[in-house]
């Protein structure tokens, strides 16, 4: 595996289940049965009703592009080879939004409302990032 020099996730006790699931190729979100809602990013309690008893649930990995930007000049030098790339807020079918990248199509083809599906990109032996690509039925 070639050297990966971009920032990597640093899982906490609260977020570790998300990253471990991603590494196994699954998109899991926290779910609160008390108020029937999903949440992302991971938190110690349900941000909606403060219930402490929240579970991890596997999700469809499907969503739509809520908004996006095409990056031509990156913040960090390690992203230089990737430009232009798309930073997006993807709204998942479960109702939460994730900051992510849209890959697998030309940046100019990305549009708001575009259906997308999760892609699991293994970037090191220990780390997998969740990105999204166009999805057609």
């Amino acid at each position: 595996m070639k050297h990966y020099d971009k920032p990597l996730p640093e899982p906490t006790a609260t977020s570790a289940p998300f990253w471990e699931a991603a590494h196994r190729g699954r998109l899991e979100l926290q779910y609160c049965s008390a108020c029937d809602s999903f949440q992302y990013y991971p938190r110690a309690i349900c941000a909606n009703c403060w219930n402490e008893d929240i579970q991890w649930k596997q999700c469809s990995g499907r969503g739509t592009v809520h908004s996006y930007s095409i990056c031509n000049i990156p913040t960090l030098p390690s992203f230089k080879g990737e430009v232009p790339y798309v930073v997006a807020a993807v709204e998942l079918a479960e109702g939460v939004r994730m900051t992510t990248n849209i890959i697998g199509c030309a940046p100019d083809d990305v549009h708001i409302g575009m259906p997308v599906e999760a892609v699991f990109e293994r970037v090191t032996q220990e780390h997998t990032l969740i990105k999204f690509r166009p999805h057609t039925d």
Binding site: Y41, S69, C71, N72, I73, V87, A89, R97
Partner: protein
């Protein structure tokens, strides 16, 4: 184009700097050599850290922070003589104007186009040029707007001095459009 739809001059440039002001109880001014500026109203509101998780990308929490500040100061927004608005990107300032109720949603662009925002204009806004002109000094950045308001009230704004400002509005935001704070400042 740096990151669509933002061009180079629409992005604050990081800079080094600091800002400070002295805050006191009104009845503890003693023999302060300078006329005080009063904090008449303050409002704070927030719901998220990253804008990705904002309930809406187009309606910010400025409406709540500004609403609370106006209510506490018991003033109407129309009575302010100048505004100092957080300006990391032009869109931040436009959303702030819209959510404060100076114009309808989506009309921020037209609003600033039709007005003279300079110190001599009909809607003095960021009379010091704002962060888009002189840079963003990290977390001290937002304070530059409070300092400029105090300079205007105390007649120390030099060649950009407003004539007789009575009420000023200062707004700052933190996180990524996540946390909003509005202040109403005045001379009495």
């Amino acid at each position: 184009m740096i990151c669509s739809p933002l061009h180079l001059l629409e992005i604050v440039s990081p800079c080094t700097g600091g800002a400070a002001l002295v805050v006191s109880r009104a009845d503890a001014l003693g023999d302060c050599p300078q006329d005080p500026v009063y904090l008449l109203g303050a409002g704070e509101a927030g719901s998220h850290t990253s804008v990705t998780h904002a309930p809406s990308l187009t309606h910010s929490w400025v409406q709540h922070s500004a609403g609370r500040a106006f209510e506490m100061a018991a003033i109407d927004r129309k009575s302010v003589d100048f505004v100092q608005l957080y300006d990391c990107f032009p869109i931040t300032l436009l959303l702030t104007l819209e959510d404060m109720g100076f114009c309808a949603k989506g009309e921020g662009g037209h609003f600033v186009q039709e007005r003279d925002l300079s110190w001599q204009g009909d809607f003095p806004c960021n009379t010091n040029g704002g962060q888009l002109s002189f840079g963003q000094a990290g977390i001290a950045g937002g304070m530059c707007h409070v300092v400029e308001a105090i300079r205007q009230f105390t007649g120390r704004a030099g060649e950009r001095q407003l004539s007789d400002p009575g009420l000023g509005l200062v707004h700052g935001n933190g996180g990524i459009m996540g946390e909003q704070v509005t202040l109403v400042l005045g001379l009495e």
